[in-house]
Homo-oligomer: 347 residues x 4
């Protein structure tokens, strides 16, 4: 049997989540998210975020949430600023552009982070009315390469966006991993205070599916449900999302699962460095990126599900290892031991 | 406690479905529907449909499936023909038009059925190149008011579409109810043979969520996954859909659940007629539409979750009652008894 | 040589318009409509409309103007209400829907007019959040069949729209014909006061091309140029539109040309009725619709360019005759004489 | 009076073009481009291109043509590859993305040219089905900075596109300038043979407006008119475009006008270099880009309409000078003399 480090969605729901779904399964609930579980889960999230008046809506997956949230904030000629490595700019198959908006890409470093300095020149150019109008800045926390924004960094971005009349949106597919990272110095409510809208990822943190979108300015949100419906994002049995998010925020499960993923990643990172492998970027969250010699790589797939990220050079690949709520110490130990054997044999 | 006849998505998954999900939950599976459960489920569906080469893809919900499937078949200037009462023309918040295509509405009767005779004049008008080009006919089976197409009716539509170079798409949100209806004379594979593409509804027939889209002409489908991804319809934990559909088609659960819903509806229809209520349309499937005096209606909501469909006249509402896999004989008996009491008291 | 009654765009520009273009042709002008001719023309139009603060923008053609103007006013989930016979719903090849919005059609009479009573039921139904949100009412003046709105009718619509939070847009492709019609009791500035946005048609009233879009609420218009550019509606040599519209509103040419068209139409209508033909609708503007026996119709095309509008019955067609700034008394007399000959011969 | 070197659309139509329009102005012509002038003009263009079977359609402006042509060739999930400096990626206000497609940008040099080597890596990455599918390569000839593709370069691109199943589209807004450039070694028909579709720019080469789109594979084009109509690109008085393009290709006016622009540019380039100014790129067509000291620049605007292109450094701007059919030797001499005076005074 292989070790699973391919991603954080190879396993379904945490048992506590699954038990909550089973308990509500045959109960009878109003459709489309108008049920009591959902209302309760929204209230918990508002409370945890310190945003008693925010709109919270449960979405199905990350691509959908990014697309619905970003396009919801924009008029037709308005554009989104993002890192060239942003998820919305790549592995979403043009989903955002399919809503008719342009993505304005900023070249960033491996860490995937945007800064005011990187964005400013683009704003200058776009004063020209023959161009689209930048209106929203998209960031991810954790970023696509597992990095996290510090309080100082996020505060600076937030201030810059406000003073330039830009919305700040955070893709939180791995927000749990970010907030429980050793590099993090933000609470959920502090994080929430710096952005205009964001989502709390459930799919990659122990739910079967589901993301919680939070929009702070409720004046904008009057018709959000119609938009959500139009975008195919309303589930008939929406109450299942309510049940799962309720369970996610009870008993700190959200943080516990993300912490486990981070701790297992740290342990694995330590082990791989000890074996002599070089990290491509030293991630403080649950995605690790290592520069692996091709001759090791070719045998790695026999023992482990992991992901080719990109070509490093003629002799090396960057390989991604991802941990999750389900990853155990023995998984990590076993993987390290197995890789050790590959290395030994390949000498 | 109230009786639940509001819709067929108030209850979650049939226990057999849920057990299958639990069994696979912590197994480790490849993401995005490339896992073995999903491949197996697709094979079963191809077999049951008698379409060994068809493309089968699992979608999340009905609105999404309608939008993705119909727009996938069209070039930008091509339009869809549907009944004015079609789901795609109403309770989908303009989802189809949001892809940039026009819906050409045909006025139909209460039964919601399209016929060649109803469509032909519209084709004549649209020979004019200043208009959109009709390219796909959208029908629902069962229709929005619970009616089913007979083999003769569907064959006639199919022939008409072929000879006019139109695709025929069937929204099968309630295909189980249609195929197990007493009015039905079609098998699944016969049904499949008459249309170009369709979906088998899971959400309204005992799954947590999920619809199985079937497209017969695989030459068109090379890039379907990219389209699906772009439309936010790919689930990271797609293997859960595979597991659910596998369980749905094992042990004839698909038919058993739908049959139960139909039988319970028939029993309820009989009971309501016996109490003196008049059906708006005499549905042979799991949705019933009754003309209810307002003074009965006002008390009905205390004992039963059901849905106001439309105003009939100043003194009557059309009320919809829906049964599901979960509806039991005692639910039906209890509801009839309770309505009887309302009627007695209201005299 | 045939008589030209096919439409009001078979002839180019009125000589006064053409002379103005020639005068400015090699003058040197800033591009994209930022030149002085354009600014001056906008000022004249604002003055004539009694709207000193309105935004005026020159567009290229009618379909483009309808699509840009209507979609500019809407958020993604918002819809337009129009008559089923509206130009935007037919001979624009789905242009409006291609921007992602739904058209909500209201069945109207031959005159093509909308009323509060016809719209109200649709608003009631669309309180349901699973549907699109109606936000703009589209009317045409003159309508597609040549009718005009009276002051009382337009005032009622205006009041209804305001109280229901709906924008009122008027397609003015033939606004000149409407305002100079004998049935009209509105001045341009009264007309402008009742709608939120509208356009003054140039293409069908003596320009080579060009429509003047007027939006009253300039707070909405900050980014209109970016939208216009995105929709391909900005002309590099935009100053030509400015020159033409300046000439159109100097010396009352706008009214003179439209009046000529209406007078020639009236004369033709009188003549055709005298010959025993029955009008399908008795139009007070420059489009006439007559019920013509097929055996007359078959010979009509030899002497006259006119348009088949629709089939009336097995033996008759509805034929449209259109007059323009170019139509002369001798054209009308000649046509009537020729038709008289056809009739005599066909007895 | 100022010298006009701001762009090639500050002057209207060449007198021969204007005279042709005047001659046809009150003639009576069928609408929407179905007239005889238009048919004749299409035939001439097919002949000049050596493409007897191609589709030729007259469009209004460059942005519109790029958007309609590119999106016409694509399915929803397919993307366009272009230089980061491409017109479609900048000064079109997101028009292409507004049709729902993604632009994949390739970083190129100042010359704005794409090569197979620059495109290949992007194709490799996009084999991943989670990404959009590249399907069309957009180039401009002349490029945005006035450079031209050689026969060898275009042949290589063409071969690469064919073997990778990509369409090759050429934006020919300044095709006349390219084909009459001293650096050019392509005839119009050779050029046409290397691309799948392209347009011949009229707006920037002596027409009032209008571009001629040519698509070689007519099997694709059956419904092009419906698409064109939907995109607001059909003009009611389309026959004016026919008349203008007929005149453009009679008497070699197309080449004569472009040659004049190029010769005047060459003369100006020579003069500016003689005055000691450095070209940013040494353009062989009618757009010149010079690095101008800010203190010269500040006085330049008093004597000449020209365009700030970009900041070169703290002390210099890149300024664009554009010539046209209208530019005369005395215009160039006068400008050089005037700049000389500025330079002398600023010492």
């Amino acid at each position: 049997m292989k070790y699973w480090f391919k991603n954080d969605y190879s396993f379904g729901a945490h048992p506590q989540i699954m038990n909550a779904v089973i308990a509500a399964n045959l109960q009878g609930n109003i459709g489309y998210g108008f049920d009591e579980h959902t209302q309760y889960a929204k209230d918990i999230i508002r409370e945890k975020c310190g945003l008693p008046n925010a709109m919270v809506e449960f979405m199905i997956g990350g691509t959908q949430t990014n697309v619905v949230a970003c396009s919801f904030m924009l008029r037709q000629w308005e554009a989104v600023i993002c890192a060239n490595s942003a998820h919305i700019n790549g592995h979403e198959a043009g989903a955002f552009e399919s809503t008719g908006h342009k993505l304005l890409q900023v070249e960033v470093g491996i860490d995937g982070k945007l800064t005011p300095e990187l964005i400013a020149p683009l704003l200058e150019i776009h004063k020209d009315v023959h161009l689209t109008k930048p209106k929203l800045v998209y960031i991810s926390n954790a970023t696509e390469t597992g990095e996290v924004y510090t309080k100082a960094e996020l505060m600076a971005l937030s201030k810059f966006c406000k003073s330039n009349n830009l919305y700040l949106f955070a893709d939180g597919a791995r927000l749990g991993a970010a907030l429980t990272s050793k590099s993090n110095d933000l609470t959920l409510s502090e994080f929430a205070s710096f952005v205009d809208l964001f989502y709390i990822g459930g799919t990659k943190n122990g739910l079967m599916y589901g993301e919680a979108l939070v929009i702070k300015n409720v004046d904008l949100c009057e018709d959000f449900f119609r938009m959500k419906k139009q975008m195919g994002a309303v589930m008939a049995k929406g109450w299942i999302q309510g049940v799962m998010f309720k369970a996610l925020f009870e008993d700190d499960l959200f943080y516990k699962m993300a912490s486990n993923a981070n701790e297992m990643a740290e342990k694995l990172q330590y082990g791989l460095i000890n074996l002599g492998f070089k990290p491509w970027i030293k991630s403080p969250t649950n995605q690790l990126f290592f520069i692996i010699p091709n001759k090791v790589k070719s045998k790695l797939n026999d023992i482990c599900e992991c992901e080719d990220w990109c070509v490093y050079d003629n002799n090396h690949m960057v390989v991604r290892f991802v941990t999750s709520f389900k990853t155990s110490e023995s998984d990590v130990d076993g993987l390290i031991e197995s890789i050790k054997n590959i290395v030994l044999k390949s000498r």
